[in-house]
Amino acid sequence: MVSDRPATSPHSASNPGDLGANRPMLSPLQVWDLTVAYQRTPVLWDVAFQVEPASLVAVVGPNGAGKSTLLRAILNLIPRTSGKIQIFGDEFSAQRRRVGYVPQRESVDWDFPVSVLDVVTMGLYREIGWLWPVRKQHRARAMEALNQVGIADLAHRQISHLSGGQQQRTFLARALAQNADLYLMDEPLAAVDAATELAIIQQLRAMKQQGKTCVVIHHDLQTVPEYFDSVLLLNMRVVASGPVAEVFTPENLQKTYGGRLTLLDEVSSAMRRQEKLL
C-alpha cells in the first residue's frame, strides 16, 4: 500500500507536518500516520500534521474529505486503523479534560426537552462527577459561558425554540464551560447568521489570547485568511498544512478541491467491490 501513496503527499509517517515543529512548547495536537477506515473503506490516509499552541487552525476540504472523521478519530470516538495521536505530548485519554468538543449542530435532536442552561451545564458533568447533582456554582459558570457567547438572556429557553445561530452558540458555550485548552469544532460557522459568526469569531480570538488552541472545520474559503492563523487542507489525505500565508495558495486549493484523487478513489471503490464479493 505504501508504494501506492500519492506522490503529492508531503509527509512521511515519522515526520509530522510543518506547523512550527521546532517550537519548544508542547504542541496541543500532533498526528502521525493516521489512517481511518469505515467498513474497510479508507476515509483518511496517512494523515500527519501538528498544531501550534495558541493558534486558530482551519480544517478545509471538500465534502467527504474526512474532516469530521479526523476530529472524531482524534477524540477516540471511532477506531483508527493505524496512526498515533498526541494531545499536549500525551495520550488523549490522559488529557481528555483539556480537550473541548463542539459537535456538528445537526448531530443532535433539538426537540430534546432541555433548556439552554441545561445543555451548557453538560460541559461540566465530568467535573461535577458521578452521583452529584448540578449545583449553584455550576449554573453560575454555565451562565458565564453563555455570557461569553452573548446569549445569557436565552438561558432558560427551550432548545427547540432556538434559531440555528443560537443553537451553535449554545454548543460553543457548553465547550467553553469546560474551560479546555484545545478545542475541536465541527463546522461552528455553518449556516449561522452574520451576528453569530461575528460573536463566535470574537470568542475564538479571545480564546487564542488566553493561550487556547482551536481546530475548526471551516467551509467558507473566503474567510479563512481573515479568521485563521494556519490551515490544514484535507482531502482524504493532507494536501498541505501550515501558516495560512504559506499554505493557502490557489495551487494547493486546486489540489484539494479540483480533480478528484483518482487513485485513492479507485482503490477505495475496489475495496468496496471486494467487500461485496466476500
Binding site: 467498513q39 472524531r72 477524540l75 477516540n76 470516538l77 485519554s93 481528555r96 480537550v99 468538543y101 459537535p103 448531530s107 443532535v108 435532536d109 430534546f112 426537552p113 432541555v114 433548556s115 441545561d118 445543555v119 453538560m122 458533568y125 465530568r126 461535577i128 458521578w130 452521583l131 447533582p133 448540578v134 427551550q158 427547540s160 457548553r174 451576528a195
Partner: protein, 461 residues
C-alpha cells in the same frame, strides 16, 4: 389460577357494585391492594425508564427484548424439569427469560452491524423468530404432563389478578432499584440521550451507559411480564413516556409526568378490570394508558393539539388585524398627499374601499373592524373608519416593515414585483426588531420612519 380477568369483585346489584367500588377505591381488599399497588409501582418505574429509552430513540429495543424472553422461559422450564428440579420456580424462569432476552438484543445488534441489515428488518426478524420459537416451545411444554399445570402462558398475557404478595415484593424491589438508578445516573443518562458523541468525547462509556439503560429495560420487562404480560409490557415503557412529551419541555418534569401517567394508567386499568368482569387486566391497563395518551395528545399543555390550534387561531387573528391596520393606513396615505400624513391619522376611509384592497369577505371585514374598534385601534363612523392614535402608531410600524421587506425582496432577492406583496405578507409578521434594523441598513442605508411602497416607485429595470 384465576385467569387473566380480575374476577375478585363479584357484583350482583348496583348497591353491591357501589360497595365493591368503595372497597376497591379504599384498597380494602387484600387482593386488590396487592394488585393495584403492584401494577401502579410498575407503571411508575416503567414511565421513568421509558422516558430515557424514548429520548434515546430506542423505544423498540424493549419490545424486541420482551418478545425474545419467551423461549428463555420455555427452555428454563424444560431444563429445570428434566434435571429433576421445579420448573415453576420463578427465579429459574426469570433467569432463563433474561438470558434469552439479552441474546435477542445482541442478535439485533449483530444483524445490524455485521451483516448491515437495516434496523427495522433486524427488529422484525429477531422479534418474530424468538417469539415464534417461544410459542412452539410452550406447545411442547403443554403436551408434557408436568408442563400442563405450569401456567407459562400467563407470562404472555400477564396474570394481573393472581399477583401474590411475593410478586408484589418483587415488583416493589425492582421498581425501587430502577428508580434509584435513574435518579443516581440522571444527568449522565440525559447526556447520553441528548448527545452521545459529546458524552463519549467527555469520557463517558457509551457501552456502560447504554448497558445500564438496557438493563433497566430488561428489569422492567421481567417484572412487568407477570403483571401485564410480555407482549403488553412494552406499552408501559412507551405510552406514558410519549404522553408526557405533550406536557413539558423539561426533562425532569418529563420523567415525573411519565411516571405519573404510568402509575395512573395502571391504577385506573386495574380498577376497571376489577369492576367489569371478564376484562383481562393487562389489556385494560394498556387501554387506560392509551386513553391518558389521547388526552395528553389533545390537551397537553406543551404540545397538545387543542392549545396548538388555539395558538394558531390567535396568530391568524393577529395577522388579520395587522392586515386591516395596514390597509387603512395605505388608504389614508393615498387620500392625503403622499406619505406626509404624519399626525394626520384621522383620515376617514370607506369600508367599501377597504374591501377592494384585500380579498376579504364582507362579514370578515366587518368583524375585523369591530374587533379593532374594541381594541381601540380604529374608530368607526357609519360606513367609514379612521385610525386611533395607538392604531396609527401600530399601522405605521407595520406598513414600514412590510415595505422594507418588499424592498429587500426586490433589490436583494430578485423577486418579481408582482410576487412581492404576497411574500411580504407572510414574512412581515415574524420580523424581529434586529432584523428590521438590518433591513433598514441594507435597503436604505439609514433608518427612516416609513419606507416608500415599491409599488409606487418606477419599476426597476
Amino acid at each position: 389460577m384465576i385467569g387473566p380477568s380480575v374476577a375478585w369483585v363479584a357484583t350482583e346489584t348496583s348497591e353491591e357494585w357501589l360497595v365493591a367500588l368503595w372497597r376497591l377505591l379504599t384498597l380494602a381488599d387484600y387482593n386488590s391492594r396487592v394488585v393495584i399497588l403492584g401494577t401502579a409501582l410498575l407503571g411508575c418505574a416503567a414511565g421513568v425508564v421509558g422516558s430515557f429509552t424514548l429520548l434515546r430513540k430506542r423505544a423498540l429495543v424493549g419490545d424486541a427484548i420482551s418478545h425474545a424472553m419467551l423461549p428463555g422461559l420455555g427452555i428454563a422450564f424444560l431444563a429445570a424439569t428434566l434435571s429433576g428440579g421445579d420448573g415453576r420456580s420463578l427465579p429459574i424462569l426469570l433467569t432463563g427469560a433474561t438470558i434469552s432476552g439479552l441474546i435477542g438484543a445482541a442478535a439485533i445488534l449483530g444483524l445490524r452491524s455485521t451483516w448491515r441489515l437495516s434496523e427495522d428488518a433486524a427488529f422484525g426478524i429477531v422479534l418474530s423468530v424468538f417469539f415464534g420459537a417461544g410459542v412452539a416451545l410452550l406447545g411442547v411444554i403443554q403436551s408434557l404432563e408436568a408442563g400442563h399445570a405450569a401456567g407459562l402462558e400467563g407470562f404472555i398475557y400477564g396474570k394481573t389478578a393472581s399477583l401474590s404478595w411475593t410478586d408484589l415484593m418483587a415488583i416493589i424491589s425492582a421498581a425501587a432499584v430502577a428508580l434509584l438508578l435513574c435518579a443516581m445516573y440522571f444527568k449522565e443518562l440525559a447526556l447520553l440521550c441528548f448527545d452521545q458523541a459529546y458524552a463519549e468525547s467527555q469520557g463517558y462509556s457509551k457501552w456502560w451507559l447504554d448497558g445500564l439503560l438496557m438493563s433497566l429495560v430488561v428489569g422492567i420487562a421481567i417484572t412487568g411480564m407477570q403483571a401485564v404480560g410480555l407482549i403488553l409490557v412494552i406499552a408501559l415503557l412507551i405510552i406514558p413516556a410519549a404522553a408526557a412529551r405533550f406536557w413539558t419541555h423539561r426533562l425532569s418534569r418529563q420523567v415525573l409526568i411519565s411516571a405519573g401517567i404510568g402509575m395512573a394508567g395502571c391504577f385506573g386499568g386495574g380498577m376497571a378490570s376489577a369492576l367489569l368482569p371478564n376484562l383481562p387486566a393487562g389489556a385494560v391497563i394498556i387501554l387506560a394508558c392509551a386513553i391518558l395518551f389521547l388526552f395528553s395528545l389533545m390537551f397537553g399543555s406543551a404540545q397538545g393539539m387543542v392549545w396548538r390550534a388555539i395558538r394558531r387561531w390567535q396568530w391568524q387573528q393577529i395577522m388579520l388585524r395587522q392586515h386591516l391596520l395596514r390597509a387603512v393606513y395605505e388608504q389614508a396615505e393615498t387620500k392625503t398627499s403622499g406619505p406626509e400624513i404624519a399626525g394626520d391619522f384621522e383620515v376617514r376611509i370607506d369600508v367599501a374601499d377597504l374591501m377592494i384592497s384585500r380579498s376579504w369577505s364582507k362579514p370578515l371585514l366587518e368583524r375585523l373592524v369591530d374587533d379593532a374598534q374594541r381594541e381601540g385601534l380604529v374608530t368607526r363612523i357609519g360606513f367609514q373608519v379612521a385610525l386611533s392614535r395607538s392604531g396609527w402608531v401600530q399601522a405605521k410600524r407595520l406598513t414600514h416593515q412590510h415595505r422594507l421587506w418588499e424592498m429587500y425582496l426586490i433589490t436583494h432577492a430578485d423577486v418579481a414585483l408582482q410576487q412581492v406583496d404576497r411574500l411580504a405578507d407572510d414574512i412581515e409578521h415574524v420580523l424581529e426588531p434586529s432584523i428590521i434594523h438590518e433591513l433598514e441598513q441594507l435597503v436604505q442605508g439609514r433608518t427612516v420612519e416609513v419606507a416608500k411602497s415599491p409599488h409606487q416607485l418606477p419599476e426597476p429595470s
